[in-house]
């Protein structure tokens, strides 16, 4: 009788702890990643919105990365910011270089930080405005002194076992 009651109690405790652990894993899965993504995209928007044109640093972009001059970075008043998607690790990395390092094209210099992970996909596109058609054409590459009118990014990440897709278009005020 005593063994029977003890077994039932042990089973009940085990069940509650097990359910608690799985609930914790689910909570950790979806509360974190979605809110992290919102904050990271907000930061990217602010960064891109502050870009401007300056000799020595061009706006360059590909499907998985883009670089642009920016102000008020930690490395100095004028910095080169690069966002790139590390597909192997699933991280969105932000790299910041001081103006001097960017002009010298010293790729090794600068500080990097992981802004968002884990990401499944991340793709960047750049708006080329066709004045003849009065419409925007989205390109997966960009190079030139002038930044595009807008940058579009599409990301996919896992949130609580479900794939969440985020699409955002960021206007660049200096090009409008």
């Amino acid at each position: 009788m005593a063994v029977c009651i003890f077994s039932m109690m042990a089973f009940a405790v085990y069940s509650v702890l097990s359910v608690g652990l799985s609930a914790y894993k689910r909570i950790k899965g979806f509360a974190g990643s979605q809110n992290d993504a919102l904050l990271a995209f907000e930061k990217i928007e602010r960064d891109i919105g502050n870009t401007f044109t300056i000799n020595g640093i061009e706006f360059t972009g590909s499907a998985s990365s883009f670089s642009f001059p920016d102000i008020a970075g930690t490395a100095g008043p004028v910095v080169k910011v690069t966002y790139y998607f590390d597909a192997e690790a699933g991280n969105l990395i932000r790299k910041e270089q001081a103006y001097s390092a960017a002009v010298k094209k010293s790729e090794g210099e600068g500080t990097t930080s992981a802004e968002l992970s884990p990401l499944k996909e991340l793709k960047f596109e750049y708006c080329l405005y066709d004045e003849g058609k009065e419409a925007c054409e989205w390109k997966d590459k960009w190079s030139g002194a002038e930044p595009p009118i807008a940058v579009k990014f599409e990301a996919a990440f896992d949130s609580g076992g479900k794939t969440v897709k985020v699409k955002r278009i960021v206007l660049i005020p200096v090009s409008l």
């Binding site: 609930a23 909570i27 708006c127 925007c136």
Partner: protein, 124 residues
Amino acid sequence: MSITGNKGFTLIEVLVAVVIFAAGIVAVSRAYVVSADALGIGRESAQALCLLKQKMSELEFSSVENDGLAAGVSSGVFEGDDAAYEWNCEVRTAASKLNELAVDVRKTGSLRHFTLATYVDEKK
């Protein structure tokens, strides 16, 4: 050594202890359910915010591409996995050559909704 003084627990005492323990287990289990519900609401809110920002960025871009937005009301639902969320957009005259753009996103059937507003050029 004698054990005659050790009376142990009666069956009633053990059963009362088990009932109290079971009540505690039920309370803890209910706490999980409540937290999971709260988490679901939080997740829906985060998703609605994501979609709101996405819709607003699309409309702002459309305003730039088309030289402004004309006053009017439009609505729709998001595509794919986000078909459970709907959006409403209202563009109204705010001042000369300036329109106010308000976008509202909610999960279909939900009372909780999120709104963002900004100013755009009036359609030329």
